[in-house]
Symmetry: C2
Subunit: 206 residues, 2 copies
């Protein structure tokens, strides 16, 4: 059985803060139902909710933060299915089956919430930048490997994202290890991933 999962807010919310959050999210949904996501701004949300711009800023920080909060809120139904829905998404199936089912559910969730998810990533509009160097390089190397059954473009994206800034920077924050130990542990983790996906490497990486 899984250990119990604790999601939800990191600190318990005061009752009035929770009420304000619910009101702001409901108002944001109203505004989205009326108009394009581009029209949902901090100012319009403050005005329509009658809660004041300070409250909206403290709650969401940035415009992208409103959309991230909506996305988190929409995620709750998925959380319930994982915690207590039927297998393989819910408990009771083998872990690999649950991993496969979870990814599938998450992909559907993001497809259905695309507009909100796009606005939640804010300025970093995917597609606006060219593919990162990592992705181009990794795709070229994967093509050479000729992996049976692999979608090389997709696999290149997946492996690239394992080397992206946000993930690695989050890991660099781990306080208990110093830099060389941390770097060595990431190296080992990356090698593990590559070797599982592509087969064993022949030489120690230089």
């Amino acid at each position: 059985m899984s250990t119990p999962l604790t999601w939800g807010a990191p600190h318990p919310e005061r009752a009035d803060a929770a009420r304000n959050r619910q009101r702001l999210l409901a108002t944001a949904r109203e505004l989205l139902a009326e108009d394009r996501p581009g029209c949902l701004t901090m100012d319009r949300l403050a005005e329509r909710s009658g809660l004041g711009k300070g409250t909206v800023f403290r709650r969401f920080g940035t415009r992208a933060g409103i959309f991230q909060a909506l996305l988190d809120d929409n995620e709750r139904a998925l959380q319930q299915e994982i915690l207590s829905g039927p297998p393989p998404l819910g408990p009771g199936a083998p872990p690999v089956d649950r991993l496969v089912a979870y990814g599938s559910a998450r992909i559907r969730f993001l497809a259905e919430n695309q507009d909100i998810a796009r606005a939640a990533v804010g300025g970093r509009q995917p597609g606006g930048r060219r593919p990162p160097m990592s992705q181009i390089h990794i795709r070229v190397l994967l093509r050479e490997l000729d992996l049976p059954g692999a979608d090389v473009d997709l696999l290149a994206g997946q492996l690239t994202s394992a080397l992206e800034g946000p993930l690695l920077l989050q890991l660099f924050d781990t306080p208990e290890l110093d830099r060389p130990a941390l770097t060595a542990s990431f190296d080992a983790g990356w090698r593990y991933l590559v070797e599982r996906v592509c087969g064993p490497a022949s030489t120690p990486a230089g």
Copy 2:
């Protein structure tokens, strides 16, 4: 041998635009050498470079964009090593070895450029948010699998990042496929990744 890689700017730059970019990047580096990254703002960069705020905005869009441009510029040395340095980072080693070496080099690059990389992701400060639901759920399932030699926390982060918004949204942009076909292809790609890393699933995902 690898197919030739084409990185660099998506469109050729006009000579004056290239000069302005170099001048702005040089000024940004001066400002960083003098003070904390937090003190590098659009306004200070415009003032110090003598190029006007409009030019800075058009070039970088946001404050985070300045740091992204610095990061891209710092990445050039790494690009050169990949294109023409010694193997296994450079050409001439088997692809799996090159993949392992590339990840290792990229991890070192991000470790050395942490402050700039953090500022480049802007508002989305990693660590500022709690770990996403995906990461918690995936870590729990990986623990149950008891994979020999795996760093489960790191592997959970790597797999999570393959389901993150930016990657999937970038893929949703692919114009030639319709939504159901696209979703099916992501499902298959995620299943491929999970089964390579964790072993075969026993049931079709529901």
